[in-house]
């Protein structure tokens, strides 16, 4: 069985690298990008004096000053639009939107302009913009601060959508995103900021085109990304003990979706569970199932399952929110089901 990996020289074994947190990794990546290229600047609500709502940019104001670590008023549409305009004339802005729910205020600029202007202008003007957005639930922030819309954003042509689930990707995806000539949205699951893991390896920038197999397995494929990656790996451990070998694939890039890696995993395991913190109907998990049935129907030995968030505005009460979100238990149950199903 071969493990699909991004085709690039293997990074230094994780073990050899120092560990850091997801938050630190993002901060270091911003710092490195700003030191390397004076066209790069960070703009958003409270990224400066406050240090960032999730403390990601803490300390950067002191190093780079308020021109390049730019606090904005509460004007999502205008400062995202300003990021687009600045990118069109040669800057490399990193715009931070504090929480994915607030990004809806800027969606007109993102879809009608950022994603559109290159094609609509016949190729004249590209938009080398990076937008970082905190996403995800599990912090009891209730229905206006907790959603996972990254899979929904992946519907939009003209943008790329990244969802780093590991510390390495959190730090390693920023440089290639800034090098990309087109708009790239990076969704950081806020629950991950305190996670630690091997730091990104500057020698081997993460590729932002492919999904990656996080754990090889032979009985069932578990596809996931972002905030659900660790729950899924945990589920795979449990399944291991039950004698079920689960392959965990981290989508990482939600647009464009790396169908090849996904289909080849299903071709090996013949069974599939997709785990996604977004709402089920019309989410990224639906697109994954659609591609599998279109291109890999005969590889499937059982009906696939989706483990997504309940289709509700996320409630505040802890037990209710937990009931609404994917969990290792739910993933294990779904995997058992597809493995048990008739082959």
């Amino acid at each position: 069985m071969t493990v699909a990996t991004p085709n690039r020289p293997p990074a230094a074994a994780a073990s050899e690298r120092r560990t850091t947190t997801y938050r630190e990794a993002v901060r270091e990546a911003i710092r490195a990008a700003m030191r390397a290229d004076e066209r790069v600047f960070l703009m958003g609500e409270d990224v400066g004096r406050y240090g960032g709502c999730y403390a990601v940019s803490m300390g950067l104001l002191e190093e780079f000053g308020e021109e390049r670590i730019r606090d904005t008023p509460l004007s999502e549409s205008a400062f995202v639009g300003a990021g687009i305009g600045a990118a069109m004339v040669g800057m490399r802005p990193i715009v931070e939107i504090m929480t994915v729910n607030f990004s809806l205020l800027a969606l007109d600029q993102i879809l009608n302009t950022a994603a559109t202007v290159l094609h609509m202008s016949g190729g004249l003007f590209n938009v080398p913009l990076v937008i970082r957005i905190a996403t995800g639930g599990g912090r009891q922030l209730a229905a206006q601060h907790s959603h996972s819309l990254e899979g929904w954003y992946a519907h939009i042509p003209g943008i790329k959508v990244l969802a780093p689930g590991s510390v390495e990707d959190a730090g390693g995806m920023l440089a290639p995103a800034l090098a990309d000539p087109d708009p790239v949205l990076i969704f950081e699951n806020a629950l991950l900021y305190n996670h630690d893991g091997p730091a990104p390896d500057p020698e081997h920038p993460v590729d932002i085109a492919s999904a990656v197999v996080r754990r090889p397995g032979s009985d069932v494929s578990l596809f996931t990304y972002g905030g659900s990656l660790h729950k899924t790996l945990e589920a795979a451990e449990t399944l291991e003990q039950e004698g079920i070998s689960a392959e965990v694939v981290d989508l990482r890039v939600l647009r464009p979706l790396d169908s090849e890696t996904l289909l080849s995993s299903v071709a090996r395991t013949h069974r599939l569970v997709v785990v996604d913190e977004g709402w089920k109907s019309g989410g990224i998990a639906a697109e994954v199932l659609a591609r599998v049935v279109e291109h890999g129907l005969y590889d499937l030995d059982a009906a696939p399952e989706r483990v997504c968030s309940a289709e509700v505005p996320l409630p505040y009460a802890k037990h209710m929110e937990e009931a609404a979100l994917p969990s290792a238990e739910k993933i294990v149950a779904a995997a058992r089901k597809v493995v048990g199903a008739r082959g």
Binding site: R49, Q144, Y316, H319
Partner: protein, 333 residues
């Protein structure tokens, strides 16, 4: 400062008492947050009590209130029972929003309290629509909409001011200017910091008032509300106030100095008013203690009620995504 001349003893005690009720309840909330009984984001109103207390007295039961995520005080003095507020923060189903909203999403039909809106500026268009409904149905009611200085930068503020003025709607815009939007000082968020001038650009009459003086906030809001009620169209009141605590429980407060905070605390609305009442002979130690005792007792009751509360069954998770077959309760039209 507004004068005490016409102030009755009873009225004075109600104002002081209400400010104390908010202060004590929120001090308890902070405590319960440390004890992890309350989770999520918690935004305290401490220091700003004179705004909600004064403003709410200018409203009538039939009026509507739309507030932000920093709304414990508004809900409490508007009449939402402390028990239901505290239970909500615990996430118990006895809470005013069934435990689903938490601190940022307090709702109550009896007092026409429409949240608890956590999208900055997001509640403003709602208030416009409620006032539009009242106007179209010939009901003489005021919709009071509270929002912060930070919200003034949002496009929805601008669009809503224009609509309300254009359509001459009974909206009372209550801007709580505490000089910061999270960690961003108003000078760093607004090119023109005299917010009343914004209102003028929509032909909306504007007032500003010392938000630390509860008699001033009450008097100004009453005049503005009466002007709205009399068919004067929307009015705008800027309350100049200050947040004594961090923005939320996660805020290291790197953006303002201890000195600045200390200076403002010398204008603590509760202490200021207390002193004035004493000097004017309108408050004895016994009366003061009685008010403190009542506030403390209410907080205790609320905490006990929340502790005794129950968890909504998880089977109910998908209930109210859509209305129950029998439509969910609506406020009488």
């Amino acid at each position: 400062m507004s004068g005490l001349d016409t102030l009755t003893r009873e009225h004075a005690h109600e104002l002081l008492g209400d400010m104390l009720r908010i202060r004590r309840m929120e001090e308890k909330c902070a405590e319960l947050y440390q004890a992890t009984k309350i989770r999520g984001f918690l935004h305290l109103y401490i220091g700003e009590e004179a705004v909600a207390v004064g403003a709410m007295r200018a409203l009538r039961p039939e009026d509507a209130v739309v507030a932000t995520y920093r709304e414990h005080g508004h809900a409490l003095v508007r009449g939402v029972p402390a028990e239901k507020i505290m239970a909500e923060m615990y996430g118990k189903q006895e809470g005013c929003s069934r435990g689903r909203g938490g601190s940022m999403h307090l709702y109550d039909a009896d007092t026409r309290f429409y949240g608890g809106n956590a999208i900055v500026g997001g509640g403003i268009p709602l208030a416009v629509g409620m006032a539009l409904a009242d106007k179209m149905q010939g009901r003489n009611r005021v919709t009071a909409c509270f929002f912060g200085d930070g919200a003034v930068a949002e496009g929805e503020f601008h669009e809503s001011m224009n609509l309300a003025a254009l359509w001459h709607l009974p909206v009372l815009f209550c801007c709580e200017n505490n000089l910061y939007g999270m960690g961003t000082a108003i000078e760093r968020a607004q090119s023109e910091t005299r917010l009343a001038l914004k209102a003028a650009s929509y032909r909306v009459p504007a007032w500003d008032v010392d938000g630390m003086d509860v008699l001033a906030t009450e008097e100004t809001t009453r005049r503005a509300a009466e002007a709205v009620r009399a068919g004067g169209g929307p009015h705008f009141v800027e309350f100049r106030t200050y947040r004594f605590r961090a923005h939320s429980m996660f805020d290291p407060e790197l953006y303002r100095s201890k000195e600045e905070v200390a200076t403002w605390k010398e204008r603590d609305p509760i202490e200021l008013f207390r002193e004035r009442l004493r000097d004017a002979g309108l408050l004895t130690d016994e009366e003061d203690q009685a008010l403190e005792a009542a506030a403390a007792e209410e907080v205790e009751r609320a905490e006990a009620f929340a502790e005794a509360g129950t968890w909504e069954p998880v089977e109910e998770l998908e209930r109210f995504v859509y209305s129950d077959p029998v439509p969910a309760r609506e406020v009488a039209s």
